[in-house]
Structure formats: structure tokens, C-alpha cells
């Protein structure tokens, strides 16, 4: 187990945390609800040329230009469709506003620290560095994503690297 998980667990031990649960295909993911600014529909996205395919483009969020990332493409899901149910979760990470496209938002869950299990070392597409753990709720498993780390990571290409 790496340090991230430890610190995440340490934080969790203090009290129960609330998570926003969303679905990507059949899988269920969760992010810290405090990172979520709002949830809106997927519309009016302006494509950005020469960007990675999972960066759908930018959109106007009340006068603020916000990049839109499709996590389904990033996680190599089979079916990527844009319909009435397609939802954009607008999150706030490190003073940036980013929209992430997901298949749907199901609910808000409270997880106690003992419901969050450390994530195993796995994942080629989703490194365990970006996971805070796995949440178990009855027979459901929630992949708890450390959205800060994921969106500011180099491989998301959302943030300009300092060296450039």
C-alpha cells in the first residue's frame, strides 16, 4: 500500500465521508462530493484540435471556459454514446474547473472508513495512484477515484507541465 492510500485512510478514519457515485458503462465510480461543483448536461462542446481523444473540447460555463474530459474514452470503455442521459460532472481541482463526462450519476453515498478498502496494485489504464480505495456497499463495489490526482496528472494532459 502506498502513502496516498494511507493518508486517505487516515483522513477517512476521522469521520464518514460522502461520495458522489457515477457510472461508466457497467462500472460504478465515486468521487469526493466536496470536489463537485455542479452537474449539467452534455452540450455545446467546442472541439480542440490536436488534443488527446478523451479531451472532448471546451464549453462555456457561465462565462468560464471549461475543458471537458470523457472518462469513458480515457478508461477505454466499449460504448461511448452521447445522449439525453449523458451527464457532465463539473469538478473543482486545484483551483481549476474541469467537466468530466460520465454515463450517469446515481446517488450520493456516505461511506464509513471501514467500508473503504485499500485499492490493490493493478490497473494499466487506471493506475492505483489515482485511487483512494475501493468502497464496498452491500454487494456493490465503488471505485473511489482521487479526482485531484487523476485530473492534474501528466497523462491527462490538462495541465501544462512546468518544464514547458
Amino acid at each position: 500500500m502506498n502513502q496516498t492510500n494511507e493518508s486517505a485512510l487516515a483522513a477517512a478514519e476521522a469521520h464518514n465521508r460522502e461520495f458522489l457515485v457515477f457510472s461508466l458503462g457497467e462500472e460504478e465510480y465515486a468521487i469526493d462530493i466536496l470536489k463537485v461543483q455542479e452537474i449539467r448536461g452534455y452540450e455545446n462542446v467546442t472541439r480542440i484540435a490536436n488534443a488527446p481523444d478523451f479531451i472532448k473540447g471546451v464549453t462555456n460555463l457561465r462565462g468560464v471556459i471549461v475543458p471537458i474530459v470523457d472518462l469513458r474514452i480515457k478508461f477505454h470503455l466499449d460504448k461511448v454514446e452521447y445522449g439525453g442521459q449523458t451527464v457532465v460532472i463539473v469538478v473543482n481541482v486545484e483551483d481549476r474547473v474541469v467537466g468530466i463526462v460520465v454515463d450517469g450519476v446515481s446517488d450520493v453515498m456516505t461511506l464509513s472508513p471501514d467500508q473503504i478498502k485499500p485499492a490493490p496494485e493493478f490497473g494499466v489504464t487506471l493506475s492505483s495512484d489515482f485511487l483512494s480505495g475501493l468502497g464496498s456497499l452491500d454487494d456493490r463495489m465503488l471505485v473511489i477515484v482521487d479526482i485531484d490526482k487523476l485530473l492534474t496528472s501528466d497523462e491527462m494532459e490538462l495541465v501544462e507541465r512546468v518544464a514547458e
Binding site: 455545446n44 467546442t46 480542440i48 484540435a49 471546451v58 490538462l158 501544462e160
Partner: protein, 711 residues
Amino acid sequence: MDITDFYDTFFEEAEELLADMERYLLELDVDEPDSEQLNAIFRAAHSIKGGAGTFGFDALQKTTHLFENLLDHTRKGELRLRRDIVDTFLETKDMLSDQLDAYRNGDEPDQEAFERICQTLQRLALEEIGQDLESGVPAVASPQLAAKPEPEAPVEQGAASDSDLRVVALLNVGEKDRQLLVEELGQLGEVVAQGGDESCYEVTLSSSVSNDDIEAVMCFIIDTDQIKIRGADAGEAPQAAAPAAATEVAEVQSAPVQAAVEPTPSASSAASVKTDSVKTDSAKPDSEKPAKAKAKAKGGGESTSIRVSVDKVDQIINLVGELIITQSMLDQTVSEMDNVANSALQNGMSLLQRNARDLQESVMSIRMIPMDFVFSRFPRVVRETAAKLGKEIELVTEGESTELDKSLTERIIDPLTHLVRNSLDHGIEPPDVRQAAGKPRTGKLVLSAKHQGGNIIIEVIDDGAGLNRDRLLAKARENGLPVSDTMSDDEVWQLIFAPGFSTAKEVTDVSGRGVGMDVVKRNIQGMGGHVQIMSKPGEGTTIRIVLPLTLAILDGMSIKVGNEMFILPLSAVLESLQPSREDLYAMAGDDVVLKVRDEYLPVVAVHEALDVPKAKTELTETIAVIVQGEGRRYALLVDDLVGQQQVVVKNLETNYRKVPGVSAATILGDGSVALILDITGLHRLSREKKEKRRPVRKPALEALTNEELET
């Protein structure tokens, strides 16, 4: 109210006063100093002293006090100015700036430097006028101490000696400010009596300082027009003030002495004595009259402007931007409606449009400040650098009134200072060399600013030796830069922007370390501008900085490629035309050029550079927009021209990152985002794409068009 609330006001005002002081000092004609200017310098020093005293900034107060006394002797003609004295004054001004900065950061100023400057000033006074500064006027450095000995003596005597009695009337001053001001006055002299109500509160003051000085001190708290100062009339004023004084006396620090004296009769008799002394002394107020009149005029000017934080202005600009977007959204809806039935609505809309534009323009103009703000610091830089280098240099500034966005003016100062220093050090030759070359001994450095299109052009022009092509090339080889003898002059000049590049034979403390020019270029590029160099051997060098006027709003031309909308900066667009087959030529198998009036322009297909699907690929069906970027011209191929509009520039980097070929984004009338194209970036992008494609080796014309076009 806490006195620290006034700190910021004091710091800002003091900073302005110091800037004024420096300007006047530099303008000062040593042989025949203008008394107006001397007075202005004196007043500045004095006002700062007053404020520093109020807030307990001892070092600052002491320094300004000494400085002020010297200046006082100067303006009375007792101290003959010399160049080195002015230099000392300038040094003192710098010292004051440092002290001010220290206080602003909550530190104590450098004690050693403070003592040094005090000694310098003292020595100057002793040498030049044979007078000790401290003994001239009671040391205001410790006003309480200075003020106390007087009250100890009988009031009448103290007043009769050299203090003037006068009545300071405070108009419409609230209770809290008033108390502060009375305390303040207590430091300047002795408060003999006070009383009145809020609309007019009169303080009778016995003090040796001039009316100007009293005003200057109080200006930090209230406006000049709230203060009326007159000599105390016999009887009348003290009587009015006395009853109130008896009640309020205990609250005022310097008043207890007064309480011991019988208020009414003695004060009025004292007043009558002093009125005489005021009259006999009438020569002095007379000489100060013009200065005071000027101070008044300046005071009037100040009350017509207000200080607003940049954040607030930016917020307004953002809001107005949103308003414009909403307005164009409405406009679009209304234009789709029936003309006849909704004529009133449409009239209203056009009115709204006009008002919104006017509003936007006025708001934008708030952020614009004249280049004078930047240029005014250069006389000092040039003077000092020239002295250090032993060169004679005349500085000419042009276009000081040219306005530029505040954020840009602040950021241009450093690069410009660097360029000026460079020109002085490397550009302009020493006087002897100049003479030998048949040039006037005095070198000329011109700083100019002007508007051109949507840009501001700032030039640093020297009439020095010009850049040395051979030396630059040799140096470049030494540094291992790829160069060849066939490079164009322009490319050779650009070498000086390479990191670590310096052709100076020796490193001076002015320049030559080779750090800087690359930073200059980076800074300017960071502001959305670029640098051009023009140089002729023996005639001089011109360095031209081209900057956008503002970063917040752009006149744009909207274009369509495929189904996507883009914005081109209108300032870059020269013309647009439909390319005809005969004017298109393939070049080097991979490039296409378009012939426009005997000029061959590289063709950049936007759809190719930005991978736009479903765009027109038939060259002759597209529209070629001739654009200019960084001095080069290109023909951009687009599908359609949609129209012109002002757009609010939104930074892409706030939440995302820099995108090649795109400078920023904006929000269109329908609420969607459109990207603003960066012309040179686009050209670079299309070249990169071509490079990547190169192994395929397909004739470019063929790739872009149909085979039939081939010649």
C-alpha cells in the same frame, strides 16, 4: 477608528509624492532652478514627513525632516544647487522609497543606511550653508519633545516669540477624524483652544509651521477643501472656541497646559499680540502664495479621481463582457423575429447595443494608462547609466500619451529598462569614438510609443554603432549555435535573443552578462507581443516591441471551417479573396503558395492544421484570408467569412492549457465557445503536420485539391 486604517492611503500617497519628487528633481535646471519646482519638491518632502510623524515612522520622518530643511534652504536661495547635490537629493529620495517599502512590509528600515543618509545630509548642510540642520528649526523628529518646552513657559511669552496663532477650521469632519486631526495639530504646535460642531470645528493653534504645512499634514486624512486656515482675529475666534475648549480640553493630549490658564481673557489678549506678529511677518506668507495656490489646484484635481483596486475594475470588465454576450444573444433572437410587428423591440435592441458598446469602451478605458507612466522613469535610468559609463546621452521620449492596458504597462517596464541599458552600454559609443566617427559627441536615445492597428509599438532607438554582424556570427559559433554566413540580417539580429548570448567584450555592471535578452523576449512574448530589430552599421539600432493594446477585448473576424467557427484577430487580417487556379503554385512538392499582387504567400489550410472534418478541400472553392503575423504574411484557407464582431478574450489556460495554433477562446452570441486563432502558431502547426506527413511524399497540390489542378 484605528489609525492603521490610514496606512495604505499614506503609503500610496507617499509613493506618488516620491515619484513627483523624482520627476521634479530630474527636471530641475541646476543653474537656474525654478522656484515652483523647488517648492513642489519641498512640499512633497514635507507631506511625507507629516504623515510619517502621524504614523510613528521615525526613520522616515527624521530623514524627510533633514531633507526638508535642506530643501527649504535651497528654495530660499541659501543653498546653491550643484549637480552632485541633486544627485544626493535623488539618493535621498531612493532612501525614502526604501524606508517606505520597509514600513509597508511591516519591517523597520535599514538603520545603517538611515544613519548614513542623515550624515550625508547633515554634512551637506554644514559644508554648504554652515548650518546645523537640527538647530535651524526645532527638531520635528520628536515633536512631543519639541512642543513641550514651549508650553512650560507662560503661554503669552511662548506665543509672542516665534509662534503664529491661527485658527484651523475643519468643515464637515466626523468626530473620530476630528480627534485624530486635533492630535495631529497638537504635534505641529500647541492647541490653544478648540470648539464647534461637525459642520465647522475650529481649532486655534499656536505653531511656527506654515499654513501649507498644516494643510499638507491633514491632507492624509481629509480633503484640502475641508480645511480653512486663517490667522486668529483678535478676540473673536478664541471666544467662540473657548467654551467648547473647556469641555473637551481634557481629552486632548496637549491641552492640559491650556486648562491652567484663564481661557477667555488671556487667550484673546495673547491673540492680539500675535496678530501683530503675524502682520509684521507678512513677507513670508506672500512668498508662499503661488505655491499654495498651486497646491490648491492640485488638491482640486485629486478630489475628482478615486482609487479603485484593479480587481474591482476587472470584475466590472468581466461583467460588461457577459452583458455584451447576453446582448448579442438577444440580438440574434430579435433579428429572427418579424420586423414589422416588433419594430419597437428592435429599436430598443439597437439602442441597447449602442449603449452596451459605449459602456464597454468606457470600462475598458479605465484600465488604460498613458505610456508616460513607463517613460517617466527613464530619465533617471539614462542619467545614471550614462554617468556610470562615461557617456553623454540625450534622451528623447515620444508618444507619452499613448495609452496601454495597465497590466501591460507594468509588465513592460522591466524588459524596456533592460533594452535601454543595453542600448546605452553596447549601442551608443563613448564620446571620443563618436567624434572620431564624425558623429555628435552626445548620443541620442529615443523612446517612442504609438498605436498601429490594434497594437501599440514601442521603440528604443539609438544612434550608436549598430549591431556587428560578423561579431554576432562569430560569437554564435563560439556558443555552438547553428549559424551560416548566408543568414539574413534579420536572422542574425535575432541571435542576440539566444540564452547566454553576449557580444560585450567585457562584462560591465550595466550589462554584458548575457542574461536578459532572452528573458526580454520571453517576457514580451508572454504579453502576446514580439520584438523586431533593425540595425544599420554606424547609424544605430532600433528595437521595436509590438504589443496588443489590451488583452481583454479583441476585434475579431469570425470564419467558418467545416461546421466549426473560429475567430481571427481583425488586426491581423489584411484582405480576403477567392483564390484562382492560376495563382496557386506548388513548391518543393510539399508546399503551396498563393500569388497575390506579385507576392507569393505560403498557404495554410486551417482545416488541415486543426483537423477540421467536412471542410471544403477544393482550393478554388475556399476563401483565402491574407493575414499578417510577426511580420510575415500568410494565406489562410477557410470555408466562409461569417462577420466581424468584438469578442471578449477568455484565457484557455485558466482551466486548461495552451493549445498550439490557438491564442485564446471567446464566447459567441449563442453561448458556445469559439477559439481565437494564433496565426504564426497555425503556420507552425501546419508545417509540423507536413513534416510528419513527409515520408508519404505526396505532391501538396494533389493532397489539397483534385488532380485536374496539376499543371
